[in-house]
């Protein structure tokens, strides 16, 4: 049960920023909401799926998600679209192309920046898009503000005929805080008109719309100047004032409760005159913002003397002690900072691992055995973990779908410089449908020599197990047509003799097919077809155990990388040629083992056998 969705108006409860955004979208009367899953934004749509009277959809990628939302807005309904920061790069084309005609029904794009890089390939600042696309940017700092600001963003969007950006960060999305909710509004639909001069951006129409966009900028500045979301908080110590936005403003307030603070909620366009007046009231100004110095640079350009990234860290999350230290430095004071001075104890890394029984284990085991022969391009998903111990079997990872296209490019050069190398691209099912199909058809068309390992575990695993067109279920779990990968790949031009559906738990067969296909010319597709162990499609088999007295310590099974296999002891012996050899004896944790049997095939002495109830200690 979704308690936030069920909560009556005026109730106050603990909710994450993502849940608060969902509630605000629904309360604002949005008709359509779309997204592609991506940390830290995923739970917005998952939560919205529990609300009535709104069409909620997983899209195949962010470009598609935004275009569906744009269509709904043009039709006159309020529409919302969510994604992570790098998702908006994928949607950049519609984002910057829709900005001239703008929005009809309110259109809000919720974009979640992974400040501190907990689950992304970069730490980019989505507020740039507001400047790039002449769109207002809202920056909530906690759950209450997230709910309130998304509703205000719809109002501003509709009032000025412009899409609005709701810039979230991990410390809004994934922080639970108390927030009060309200009733769902029932805004009337905006009339839909056939109007090619506005909705068909051929050059002649687009040119005519340009002056409107700049006039709109002026109205948005006025809106921002009068917005109660941009508020000044008093402080008794006027030696230093702080200008801040988002969760950074919360940290600034905690760090310096006596410093006057100008908190920007609608942070673009900036209320410049108010900020100038604020700066005039204090001796020094510090701008506290996360990722890029956007507010700082614009203030400096306007002739306001401020500090910012010159004294604050250039990247990573800001915390109250960092702000406190920085302010103290600017004021020529010292504050005791035992924690910042104390070095954390050195402890081994604990990188995330593939799960026990994960269907990605054997593909990476096989690739690790072909390591000398292959260059392996990786993609975005759990299987990027193939880069780590013990497989060391991912050589590149850039962005969604790039495993296929980059393998293609690598091959074009390596076939001249190192013709013995073969290219293998690894990509998951959802990533393939997101942006992989185009790369595959491109490879076939341009006669590439690449083996594509399509690791189909029938879910978007890394973001928590969402459905997509390959699972045959929609966001509500209702049945929907299911992609047939074989038919799809053959239609894109893959030779049917080089397309294989393989059970990844059948290690010998997978290895044989992979070894054959990497040597074959042209494009091959090998699709593994077992579900993610964390989904309800997965069924456990009875667990396995190691017969301790038969284990020879060869350690072969450890190369599978299954976390259910544990080392019990190590010994050093001398082999018959007098060389020292390390032996590693193992056991299998029956609580984690899923009984997938893949380690059995790697065991020399055949001492991995089904565990019986009485044999489990």
């Amino acid at each position: 049960m979704n308690v936030i969705a069920e909560a009556p108006a005026l109730s106050r409860l603990l909710m994450s920023g993502n849940e608060a955004v969902a509630r605000g979208v629904w309360e604002a009367g949005a008709r359509v909401a779309t997204a592609y899953p991506g940390t830290p934004s995923t739970e917005i749509l998952e939560s919205l799926a529990d609300y009535p009277d709104i069409n909620v959809q997983w899209s195949v990628n962010e470009k598609v998600a935004l275009e569906v939302a744009i269509g709904a807005s043009i039709a006159g309904g309020r529409a919302f679209c969510a994604m992570k920061h790098v998702g908006l790069n994928v949607a950049a084309d519609p984002l910057l192309s829709q900005t001239l005609p703008g929005a009809n029904g309110g259109l809000v794009i919720g974009v979640a920046d992974d400040v501190g890089l907990s689950s992304s390939q970069n730490e980019q600042d989505s507020r740039y898009w507001g400047r790039f696309g002449h769109m207002p940017v809202f920056e909530p700092g906690d759950s209450q503000e997230a709910r309130d600001m998304v509703m205000e963003a719809f109002e501003v969007s509709e009032r000025h005929g412009v899409a609005a950006i709701l810039r979230l960060t991990t410390r809004v999305c994934h922080v639970k805080a108390m927030a009060e909710v309200g009733e769902r509004l029932d805004p009337p639909l905006k009339p839909f008109e056939i109007n090619p001069r506005r909705w068909v951006v051929v050059p002649v129409n687009a040119k005519a719309l340009l002056p409107n966009m700049f006039a709109r900028d002026g109205r948005l500045t006025e809106e921002s100047t009068n917005s109660p979301l941009n508020q000044e908080w008093s402080g008794s110590d006027s030696r230093l004032g702080i200008i801040a936005s988002g969760p950074a403003a919360m940290n600034a307030r905690e760090a310096c409760p006596d410093a006057p603070l100008f908190k920007l909620g609608m942070s673009h366009p900036m209320p410049l005159e108010r900020l100038k007046a604020f700066a005039a009231k204090v001796d020094k100004v510090l701008v506290v913002e996360e990722v890029e110095p956007l507010i700082e640079t614009e203030l400096k350009a306007a002739g306001v003397a401020v500090h910012g990234k010159d004294v604050l860290p250039q990247y990573g999350e800001l915390t109250a002690p960092i702000v406190r230290q920085t302010v103290a430095g600017l004021l020529g004071e010292t504050v005791p900072a035992p924690a910042l001075a104390e070095t954390a104890p050195e402890v081994f890394p604990r990188p995330p691992t593939l799960c026990a029984g994960c269907p990605h284990l054997t593909p990476f085991y096989c690739l690790s055995k072909l390591r000398k022969k292959v260059v392996i391009t990786g993609d975005i998903g759990c299987y990027t973990l193939g880069v780590g111990h013990p497989w060391n079997a991912v050589d590149t990872c850039t962005c969604m779908g790039a495993s296929i296209t980059m393998a293609h490019g690598l091959e074009a050069v390596l076939k001249e410089t190192d013709p013995s190398k073969r290219l293998v691209a690894t990509i998951g099912d959802s990533t393939f449908l997101h942006m992989g199909m185009q790369g595959l058809v491109n490879m076939v068309y341009n006669r590439a020599n690449v083996t594509l390992l399509l690791l189909d575990n029938a879910t978007v695993a890394m973001t928590g197990g969402q459905d997509h067109p390959g699972t045959g279920r929609d966001i509500h779990g209702m049945e929907t047509p299911k992609v047939d990968y074989r038919t799809l790949c053959l239609a894109l031009g893959v030779d049917e003799n080089h397309y294989h559906d393989v059970d990844p738990y059948d290690l010998p067969r997978l290895f044989k097919i992979l070894r054959t296909e990497v040597e074959a010319p042209g494009v091959s597709v090998i699709r593994t077809n077992r579900p993610c162990v964390l989904t309800d499609k997965f069924c456990n088999n009875p667990p396995l155990k190691v017969v301790d007295e038969d284990c020879t310590g060869c350690g072969n099974c450890l190369a599978v990388g299954c976390p259910a296999i544990m080392v019990t002891r190590r010994e050093t012996t001398t082999d018959n040629r007098g060389r020292e050899k390390e032996l590693t004896f193992v056991k299998i944790d029956s609580e984690f083992c899923t009984g997938c049997d893949t380690c059995v095939a790697t065991c020399g002495p055949k001492c991995i056998v089904p565990a019986t109830a009485e044999a489990t200690p």
Binding site: L14, R171, R253, A255, A339, L558, P563
Partner: protein
Amino acid sequence: MSSHTDTPATGPEVGPVTNILVCGIGGQGVMTAAELLAQAAISLGHDVKKTEVAGMAQRGGVVTSHVRFGPKVVAPAIAPGEADLLIGFEVAEALRWTTHLKPDGCAMVNVMRIPPLVVSGGLFPYPDDPVAQMQASGRQVIAFDAEAIARQLGTVRLVNTILLGAIADHLPFPAEVLRDTVLAGFRARKPALVELNAQAFDTGRATAREREMAKAV
């Protein structure tokens, strides 16, 4: 919406806040424990902020959950050196996060060891005596084998409730508030487990007290 006024608003008061950091490994119940602490604080009318950092994968990685409560909580996360309490579900993880504790903070640690593949594979050593290392930093450390107690009571799933019981006397509110919150959750979802969890909570609480008494002598 109404237009702004020129008089600055006062903004939120920054009052005393209790900071609890819960740490462990994905799948151990770290987030559930943090959620229960948050709910207990809410039941007393506190303002609460709670946040997690879970790594990329869902299992096996480091997980920390920050719980902050008081009359008004502004910043979302606990900075290094600012935690009043640390609950460690795994002993090396407790060591990893020791410096998040205030110098006079208290750590409640389950001594269970879960070596990751990089350790069992021989790439990194597991610390010999993490508890001693934590104590060497001058902080109060209460360490015991919560898993062994859980097994004695019938299931390892009770580790979570045992650790919450152990921390209960170190909170700025009566232990019974947390106990009621934990049991109310079971009463609503799994009533058959209420008795067992009550026993686990009380055993955890008694064990922590014993350890403290032993140290005091």
